[in-house]
Each structure stands twice: as C-alpha cells, then as structure tokens.
C-alpha cells in the first residue's frame, strides 16, 4: 500500500493529464454521437426510401464494423481520399460516428415506442408534423431513451481508450507509457482501470439518473 502511494505521488500528475484528455474525447464524441443519432434516427423513420435507405446504410455500416477498424481507416486511409484529420480529431470523430449509429437505433426505437394514442390526439387537435414532434412526441421519446443512453455513454467512454492506439495522449496512453518505463503493470493498468470505473459509476451513471429524474418530472411523472 505504501508502495502504491509512492507510485501515485510520482505518476499521479500524468494520470490526471491523461484523464483530462479522455474526458475531452468523451465529451466531443458524445456531442457528435447525439447529433448523428438524432439525425439518422429520425431519417430512419422517413417515408421516402432514399432518406430511409441512407440512414440504414450508415447505421449498418458503422454497427457492422469494429470501432478500431473505423478509427484506423479514418486516420490512415481518409487522407488518401482528401480528408485529413489530426489524430485528436480523428479519435473523437471515429468514436462519435460509431456510437452515433447505435444511438440512432435507440432514437428510432424510442420514437416508435411512444403510444399511438398520442399521435391520434395530435391529429384530432390538428397539429402540424413539426409541432407534434417537437412538443409531444420527441419529449416523450427522450424520456424513454434515457436509460439505454446511459449505457451508451459508458460504451463511448470505453471506446475513447482506443484513440491511444493512434497516439492520442489519453488515460490509456499514459498508462502504457508509464508501464513501459516502470514495468509496474498492475499499478499502471490497474490505476487506469479504476479511474475509468470511477468515471463510469460515479459520474456518468448517477448523472444520467439525475437527468432522468429531472426530465421525468417535466414529463409529469411523479
């Protein structure tokens, strides 16, 4: 234990640096994922086959291939097609696009889960499509999708660990570096695991639950 405390004193700073980068990656990827999920989730429900087809292609492509392959492709191959990202950007773009595809299915499922009676009431009140979606359907859908989105955000957090493989200096990158010099693998990777765990269990999950309660109250749940 004493030994571990000394270890933390020596390397704690680097773990903090790495964690900050991980947090940045997670937040940026999350914003992108939410945007992509909302966009493609709703496109998936369109009656026009072109719009629906595009979203299906996007969703199946990003869900059918692995994040690591997509990450490498975006960083190494896209430049050859003319689109060049620096490694930090490539990182959160890959994670965001990938998990956004899963999110799109959640968005679609939740919109479909809103009871048909709600649509019928809107129809009887002569609401337009936009009014109906914005005021009635989407708010209810949001409440339904919050629990699985909590899990998705944790997957997002875990996904950012892969950006270390294209040398983004996140938490896992730092852990690997420290392991490389000290050979104290249990301490290095163990600390990284604990930090990821704390972020997931102590920040993300409770945060989502709090938001669920808040939004639930707004939706009239007691």
């Amino acid at each position: 234990m004493q030994h571990y405390l000394e270890y933390l004193q020596a390397y704690g700073g680097r773990f903090v640096d790495g964690t900050l980068v991980t947090i940045q990656q997670t937040l940026l990827a999350a914003l992108l994922a939410i945007f992509v999920a909302a966009l493609f989730g709703m496109m998936r429900l369109s009656e026009k086959w072109l719009i629906r087809g595009t979203s299906i292609v996007y969703i199946e492509f990003f869900r059918g291939t692995s994040l690591l392959v997509q990450l490498y492709w975006i960083f190494f191959v896209l430049p050859l097609l003319g689109v060049t990202f620096d490694k930090f950007t490539a990182g959160f773009v890959a994670v965001g696009l990938n998990l956004g595809a899963y999110g799109a299915e959640l968005v679609r499922g939740s919109i479909e889960a809103v009871p048909k009676g709600q649509y019928e009431a809107c129809h009887a009140l002569n609401m337009s499509y936009y009014k109906r979606m914005r005021r009635i359907i989407l708010p209810q859908a949001l409440l339904l999708m919050l629990p699985p989105w909590g899990n998705l955000l944790i997957e997002l957090l875990k996904g950012t660990a892969l950006v270390s493989l294209i040398s983004v200096t996140d938490l896992m990158f730092e852990a690997k570096q420290i392991n490389g010099t000290t050979y104290l693998s249990a301490e290095s990777f163990g600390t990284a695991l604990i930090i990821y765990y704390l972020m997931a269990r102590v920040v993300v999950s409770p945060g989502m639950r709090a938001f669920e309660r808040y939004w639930g109250k707004k939706m009239g749940r007691i």
């Binding site: 690591l68 490498y72 190494f76 430049p79 660990a161 892969l162 695991l193």
Partner: protein
Amino acid sequence: MFEGFELFPKFDWKWSFAFEILPRLLWATLNTLLAAGTGYAIALIIGLLFALAQRTGIRAITLIVREIVEFIRSTPLVVQIFFIFYVGPQFGIRLSPWTSGMIAIGLHYAAYLSEVYRAGLESVPRGQWEACKALNLSMTRTYFRVIIPQALPPALPGMGNYLVGIFKDTPMLMVIGVTELMHAATALGSTYYRYLEPYTMVGILFLLISLPTAFGLRRFESFVAKALGMRK
C-alpha cells in the same frame, strides 16, 4: 483540427496489391474467427457462473460477484487486455498473447452475458418455480427442464448481439501481438507503406461476416422460439 480537403484525392487503388495480400488476410480472418469463437465459448460458461452465483441467496457472494461484473462492464476491454497480459510477468507468470487475450475477452463478455442470462431467468414467471416445487421436481430438473428452456428465447437476441460484438472486438487483440486480421493488415501496411488496400479490405471482410451473421441470428431466434413451443 481539420487539415485539408482536396478535390482530386490521392486515391490510387491497386488491384494487384489487393489480390497479393488477400491470401494473408483470409488466413488471418480464420484466426480472428477462432479467437472470437473461443472467447465466446469461454464467456458463455463463465457468464452462466456469474449469473447463477448471483442467485445463491448468500448476500456476500451476490454483492461481490455483482461488483466484479459491474467493474468489468464499465472499463475498456483494451485496458483489460493489457492488464492481463502484462500483470502476469510482474508476478512471475508468463501468459502467451493468445491466452491473455482469451482470458480478457472471455471475462469481459462473460460479464455482459451474465446480465443477459439474469434478465432471461427473471423473465420466467414465478408460477413456474412453484409448479416445479408442487410436483417435487429436483433443483437440477427444475433448472434444466423447465426454467432454462423458458429463459433462453428472451436471452437469445442479447447473446447473438454479443457474438457479433466479440467478433468485432478481436482487433483489440493486436495490441498484444495476437495475429488476427487487424494485426495482419497493420503489418502489411507498414511493410509496404500502403494502408489503403489492407484497411479497406479489413473493413469489407468484417462487414461480409458480421452482417450475414446478424441476419442469420435473427432467423435462428425465431426458430428456437417456435421449436420450444413458445409460439403459436
């Protein structure tokens, strides 16, 4: 951040190169499938142990196993892979890349599968357990003849998703040198200084395997539900 966009990109796909590396990639694909299959088999069994351990009724065991499962599910697989591979030597045990990879992936997906099993078991109505007791069936028969056949259909979609998921996660094994598909592609890329064909082909190979598998799994789920008499 975003460094450039050109109207006529440096895209020069060489079919000759693609065909040249194809055999090596196909061979690596077999290794990938083997890794996914082995990891999944391990996860199926250990996941069941995790799930049953939480049903023993002994609070201490339930809480400990619960925490272990949560920890594994909430932390990145790639870090777990590194941990298991490197921690061994620190304490004198030398694990091969394949073994550490299988342990890491097996444990990781066991944690996911245990949640799927638990949900399946919980979905079986309590009346079934009571009927078994009234007929004086032993615990073994209760589980194997009555409960598990009913817990299986709702659990299958989750189990299928994780089969596809394990397959897609095998590239992470490359970081400790397991010669699966991504590892082979990266090795080819750095040898020939051409990443376009290897990585693109890897992407296509993954799609070619995972999409039909996902489709086939959905058909299989329907079939099982019918076969067990649960559907009209």
